[in-house]
């Protein structure tokens, strides 16, 4: 038992390496937030492209569906290898300029940016499907009302449909964000020194997993509160949609903001 305790919970080792693991976690956070924001945006673009109306735009829809199918269907690790390999090779062959092939934007390393690109490509596809579910959950009468008022398809999407859809899908998007955050550890494989790599380096040097456990604690410090936020959002959503059901507990006044779901009066 002592060995287990020492292997995983050597607090003096954690203390000695706290700075290194924290530095790694800071990289993880940056990777997660930058990729997360980009994937949220890219996913919305894909979802909207997928909903474009009319026959002439059918090729755009097909391309979008194809993209989503491909990137949802292959492992992130594979994408990471393909992206990093391609960009560095193309740069070496002078096909693309160095600033793109070996990016060091904002002082971050090239593996960092390869990771951001790969995570965005992959999670954009996941999130596009989440947005799509949200868009399809907005009642058809909303589009009809917007169109009957003279709005174009684009205006109806922008002002009426997408704002309602996004409100509906915040919890699943947050879930995807949690998954993305954990998947940033894969970027270590192409050379990013994020928190898992930092912990693994300690384990390799010291034959002790406490650095990795410390990294796990950092993860949990972020992911558990996020999971609770998701739960809270979902229960708030249910309280709103189940009208006539039990009222929210006293003191938890209904926010004056717009309703998140449901067609009025339906």
């Amino acid at each position: 038992m002592d060995f287990i305790r020492e292997y995983y919970f050597d607090f003096s080792l954690m203390g000695d390496n706290f700075g290194a693991v924290l530095d790694g976690f800071w990289v993880t956070i940056k990777l997660s937030v930058i990729s997360g924001v980009l994937a949220l945006s890219w996913g919305l673009v894909l979802a909207v492209l997928r909903q474009l109306p009319g026959k002439p735009l059918a090729p755009v829809r097909w391309l979008t569906i194809g993209y989503i199918d491909v990137f949802r269907g292959i492992p992130l690790l594979l994408v990471l290898f393909l992206v990093s390999g391609f960009l560095s090779a193309a740069q070496a062959e002078d096909v693309i300029p160095e600033t793109i092939g070996l990016p060091t934007w904002f002082g971050e390393t090239s593996p960092f940016w390869y990771g951001v690109i790969s995570l965005t490509l992959t999670y954009g596809a996941y999130m596009a499907e989440v947005y799509r579910a949200g868009i399809e959950a907005v009642p058809g009468g909303q589009t009809e009302a917007a169109r009957s008022l003279g709005m174009s398809h684009g205006q109806a999407m922008r002002y009426i449909i997408v704002p309602q859809a996004v409100r509906k899908v915040v919890p699943p998007l947050l879930n995807d964000f949690i998954a993305l955050m954990k998947d940033t550890s894969l970027v270590s494989v192409i050379g990013a020194l994020e928190v898992v790599q930092a912990g693994f380096d300690i384990q390799t040097a010291e034959f002790n997993g406490s650095g990795l456990v410390l990294g796990a604690l950092f993860f949990l410090a972020v992911t558990i509160p996020l999971a609770r936020v998701v739960d809270w959002l979902i229960s708030r959503e249910q309280a709103k949609t189940q009208r006539g059901g039990p009222k929210p507990p006293a003191g938890e006044a209904k926010p004056a903001g717009p309703p998140a779901t449901g067609m009025a009066g339906a």
Partner: protein, 261 residues
Amino acid sequence: MEETGATAAPAEPAAGPMLQLENVCKRFGDLEVLRGVSVDVNRGEVVCVIGPSGSGKSTLLRCVNLLEPPEEGRILLEGKEITGKEAVEGINFVRRRVGMVFQQFNLFPHKSALENVCIAQEKVLDRSGAEARQKAEALLARVGMADKIGEYPDRLSGGQQQRVAIARALAMDPRVMLFDEVTSALDPELVKEVLDVMRELVDEGMTMIVVTHEMGFAREVARRVVFMDEGLVVEEGPPAEVLGNPQQERTKRFLGLVLEH
């Protein structure tokens, strides 16, 4: 309303029917919903369309504002063809002249009553925020919703929502208003407040096509009543004739069933 419509549709063209439907056909797959419907609607005229469920009444309205473009036949709005290959005017011409109110209200739930009435004015007619707001406040006051302009649809009764929806359509300065069973989803005690708003519109001379099950309302306000069944116009004429002394067997049977209870 016309005087505030600075950015509304251009001046009235020459006289003639506001709306002409000629042999309009619409099918969904194998289902023929409209099988050749011809109706004219004159300026300022109120036409009530009645008939059993599935008779094509709602589809007819949706064809008029091109939510469901008809497959055959022609529709002319202000004398200009808006359907088929010969269409001289497009969807924007139609939707800026034709307002529609739906059975399920279809208010935008993420916007307040005021924003519901403003959004299309600003985005479609390019009215300024202040101009749109002024118009919206006036219209909401007109439908008796002046004290609720900041409320979200969720907090409004069905009748209140429907009145906001009518204000929203009127804000676009339509020449024709289409009402698609606008009281069918309402609790009985809320029907009157919506019908009262519609009566006011009738008095102001708005051209209206009203799909309704409210026979009393049809008898009172309609210049003409059109009875539809199975995608065809079975009988049409003044309400006293169609409702009071129907000639066709199907009309008699329908009215018998509706008026019995």
